[in-house]
Subunit: 302 residues, 2 copies
């Protein structure tokens, strides 16, 4: 492993999982962690999310040749400013944020002259905080690197090797393309889920108790996603605005077409869509990006 010491700034689900994954997969690599919340630092020390839990970001970054910012994308620039002047020369700065153009720009502003390769491991759960992380979070998940123009190929390779060691598969693309892809595979699904859960909570003619009781009809799936961290997701939407609005526009067009099909009783249009969508699920399961068991293997089936 090229990196001798990794500093993890932010010790929630992602930061904590990186620390635990390094301990499991790269026992020779040193780790230091920092979180701006003292309670999180306390819990991180108890769970040993990093070998050393520090009282400042600068302290954690001392001697580190890889510094990973694991904070909501809206807090990236502030976190990077705290590192300004404290990084080792040549230390690689990366992150795990869900929007990459905004992060790339923020890091370049805050840390001029420092090598920067933004990254996004496409992995997570609906839980957050220092208790949520686990060592296998990245197993068989994709991690996208978005090196800026002129990034050192050796550092791209080193960061790729790092994520591969944690169990991930690595892909390289531009920040712009990343933001478009993730808008559709992650951001719009979250926005839709948050919205329908909100809609269902606010009805007068259907009680909240009824929504909960009959949620097994499909609704409950959306509530899992809609239980994700509010700050993280607010920041994603504010920081990937253009791609999200673009994809939302396309979704809304398609939804309007379905609405029209229902209103006019066009069963063929409904049937055609409902048939086409099965193929994608099959591919996702074949590529081991989801569980093949019915109903995600919930409950006591079988």
């Amino acid at each position: 492993m090229t990196f001798g010491k990794v500093a993890i700034i932010g010790l929630g689900l992602l930061g904590g999982s990186i620390g635990l994954a390094i301990r499991q997969h790269l026992p020779g690599v040193k780790t230091a962690g920092y979180d701006s919340d003292p309670q999180v630092r306390l819990r991180a020390a108890e769970r040993k999310l990093a070998q050393e839990i520090c009282e400042s970001a600068a302290e954690a970054a001392r001697g580190a040749d890889l510094v990973i910012l694991c904070v909501p994308v809206g807090a990236i620039e502030h976190a990077a400013n705290e590192l300004s002047g404290a990084l080792e020369p040549g230390a690689l700065v990366s992150d795990v944020g869900s929007s990459k153009q905004s992060v790339s720009a923020a890091l370049a502003r805050a840390l001029p002259g420092q090598p920067i390769i933004p990254a996004h491991p496409v992995a997570g759960t609906e839980h957050s905080g220092p208790d949520a992380g686990f060592a296998t979070l990245f197993h068989n998940r994709w991690c996208i690197l978005t090196p800026p123009d002129g990034a050192d190929p050796e550092q791209v390779a080193a960061l790729s090797e790092f994520w591969t060691a944690l169990g991930a598969m690595v892909e390289v693309m531009t920040a712009e393309h990343h933001d478009l892809v993730l808008a559709v595979t992650s951001h719009i699904p979250h926005l839709i889920a948050y919205t329908i859960v909100g809609t269902a909570s606010d009805l007068e003619d259907v009680t909240r108790g009824e929504v909960i009781k009959y949620s097994a009809g499909g609704f409950r799936d959306f509530t899992r996603i809609a239980a994700s961290d509010p700050v993280m997701w607010r920041d994603v939407f504010l920081n990937n605005r253009e791609a999200v609005l673009e994809m939302l526009g396309r979704f809304t067009e398609d939804l309007t077409a379905m609405q029209r099909a229902i209103r006019s009783g066009n069963g063929d249009a409904l049937f055609d869509l409902f048939t086409r969508t099965r193929a994608i699920r099959r591919s996702i399961i074949e590529q081991k990006q989801d569980d093949a068991r019915p109903d995600f293997g919930r409950g006591d089936h079988g």
Copy 2:
């Protein structure tokens, strides 16, 4: 148990699960099954989904005091017509369909004078067909009965006892209210899921391979629901049109408000919604309507 013999018409996920659940929970009750597809009958016999697999609906209904139609709601009237003249006097007719006003009307048209109590067990998986059923599908799930005006309270009680014996919890409401409640807890979630999966499949600037690879960002959850049976769901939307369009209108209004918040950079509006939605998930888990494990317990967490 009040019922001595149950006829199951339609041997897919729901019909098959009823047969297997009776065998497990009500071993004294006889079962006969029929499906219009000969291949399904063959497989149903192999899996012993009912004690007797018959060559016609009328044959299955002979001597039955409870007949449950487990076909797509658009096929209910046709299936009921096949039973016309073949039912025992006083045999109770029920179903498992996801829309109740249309089913109630169709059954009343096809079987005048026969006692009818429509029902809807709110349970299922994304799989369908004679291999999809299992005996515990109804455990800890709600089954809604929608007895028409003038239904015999003793028959309502008997049907309620039947579903309770299969492991379900029973609620009684009007067909009209059922259709509104299920529009929001089941039909709109399915419509949204089908639509976003369709949107993602048709993009030019993001490949289908990318959608699949990065689906763990949230999208994959929607593909499970969007793998549900196309005929069943086409029929639901055609048969619960008014309630679906009503709820879709409310969802679209809320989505437009979120779109405006993103466009104008109104982080507070986003944060408020994203915080409110967590409470409903907690209640769903407390009421054991979903798995508490992170990410539905997928993969090798922990």
